[in-house]
């Protein structure tokens, strides 16, 4: 389903990025040396949970309890791949 993540993998935000809410932007952002990426609400909900503790299947379970009507497995995997390719997240090192 994903190129980079399996259900048991634990994603976390890369050390070179910082994830935070920006009041002036009205959205979550990723900050990196001299730059910023603005995130949409769906991306923020996923990244919020990439805390280096929860595995992908737990992240999906948690999202499903918050958004019971959404069928989001493939969306989550798809986003995690994009985030990985942009080096926003990586696997938690063992």
């Amino acid at each position: 389903m994903s190129n980079h993540f399996k259900a048991a993998d634990i994603p976390q935000i890369s050390a070179t990025f910082r994830f935070q809410w920006e009041e002036a932007q009205g959205c979550h952002v990723l900050l990196y040396p001299e730059g910023m990426v603005k995130l949409n609400p769906a991306a923020s909900e996923i990244l919020k949970r990439c805390d280096g503790i929860n595995s992908v299947d737990l992240i999906i379970k948690d999202l499903k309890s918050a958004y019971p009507d959404a069928d989001l497995d493939s969306d989550v995997y798809h986003f995690l791949d994009t985030a990985y390719d942009n080096q926003w997240i990586r696997h938690k090192s063992a």
């Binding site: 070179t16 002036a24 952002v29 040396p33 603005k38």
Partner: protein, 385 residues
């Protein structure tokens, strides 16, 4: 990604550049600081800087660059970093590495510093030290290794000009060996000292093309490992850069004495007084001051920019370059081939292409002695002392 296309609210200063001091142990002739650096002795205090950080943050600034001169000269840098970090800034230290040691790198980390960018003058010790005007190369290598050791993203910056333009391959190999995350191959910006030394610094077209080819080859070679930023020098282009993303749109620079500028070169523009943070709030300066509104948006433009379909892409280029090269800051940036002054640009580049004519005058190094010598006539006769 969210975009707010129909947003009509005034722009927000995302980027705050704090030029803490113009003191610097290096003497780079390509420095874009103003020539009258020796005049900036009345630096903002720690408390004044902290107030600036608070006010700019409240307006929406999120990236904060500590720069100079050499920011490390300020003994209160650790305090300033800690305050900025508490306010929620992403903090960047832009440094030559001279004045840093392991204890300070550790203290910066504890204060919450996010990123250190170390600039090198070249990839060889000899050229680096010649351009920097001191023996800093070995120390810089050591600092770069420590940046890595303390888990900062490693960003290396090289300012390119004709003396190191042919070293891009060695520069990138050296950066890779140091395990850099990002490498910035910056172009000399011809303001301040760099403008004074332009004839000796401007590379030939052949040099620029060769450097570009190497940069692109290495972007492929180290894809996914090391990101290489390379921008073609605008003197060699047919369209100008979108300078500062537009005047008063994103960037706010504060000079060591508290002068607020829409870009770090703007102090050279005539007819502007530039408000000082000692007299005004950041909010007033950004939203209401004449100077920050002067070239905001498109209303100030003349032909060929006014009716140009590309004006939203480049905002007519750089105001400072327009002034310095055409004498009128409301002209199109002469880099643009639609500008009636573009011929001048072509002439400059052609001159640079003719090898034998180039070594006309010696490089003038950036230091306080030269600053006093070259700008004394501009100083007011009644000195404050």
């Amino acid at each position: 990604m969210t975009t707010n296309g129909s947003d009509t609210s005034p722009p927000k200063p995302l980027w705050l550049l704090a030029e803490l001091t113009y003191k610097c142990p290096l003497q780079c002739p390509y420095c874009s600081n103003p020539m009258d650096i020796a005049r900036y002795t009345d630096e903002l205090s720690t408390e004044e800087w902290i107030r600036v950080f608070k006010e700019a943050r409240a307006l929406g600034a999120v990236q904060l660059g500590f720069s100079g001169g050499e920011a490390l000269v300020r003994k209160d840098l650790e305090i300033l970093i800690a305050e900025a970090h508490k306010l929620g800034y992403y903090t960047n230290l832009l440094t030559s590495g001279v004045g840093m040691d392991e204890a300070r790198i550790r203290a910066f980390k504890q204060a919450g510093l996010d990123h250190i960018q170390v600039s090198f003058q070249a990839s060889s010790e000899e050229l680096n030290n010649y351009i920097a005007g001191n023996n800093s190369f070995e120390h810089k290598l050591e600092m770069a290794r420590l940046v890595k050791k303390y888990d900062y993203p490693m960003v290396l910056c090289f300012v390119l000009h004709r003396h190191n333009e042919d070293q891009v391959e060695q520069i990138l190999e050296m950066s890779h060996a140091l395990e850099a995350d990002y490498v910035e191959l910056a172009t000399t910006q011809y303001y301040g000292w760099a403008l004074h030394n332009r004839e000796q610094l401007i590379p030939s077209q052949a040099q620029v093309e060769a450097a570009e080819a190497v940069a692109h080859r290495y972007q492929e070679k180290y894809k996914g490992k090391m990101r290489i930023f390379y921008v073609v020098p605008d003197y060699h282009e047919a369209r100008p850069k979108a300078c500062m993303n537009g005047w008063g749109a994103v960037f706010l620079t504060i000079a060591p004495d508290g002068t607020a500028l829409p870009c770090h070169a703007a102090s050279e523009l005539p007819g502007l007084t530039f408000p000082n943070v000692r007299d005004h709030s950041i909010e007033w300066i950004w939203n209401d001051s004449n100077d920050f509104n002067k070239f905001r948006g498109f209303g100030w433009m003349k032909e060929p920019c006014r009716d140009c379909s590309e004006k939203e892409k480049d905002f007519g280029g750089c105001r400072c370059q327009a002034y310095l090269l055409t004498g009128d800051a409301t002209n199109a940036d002469p880099v643009c081939s639609k500008s009636p002054h573009h011929e001048q640009m072509v002439k400059l580049v052609n001159q640079a292409n003719m090898e034998p004519k180039r070594d006309t005058a010696p490089l003038v190094f950036r230091n306080m002695r030269n600053s006093k010598k070259l700008t004394a006539h501009k100083w007011p006769t009644t000195s404050k002392a």
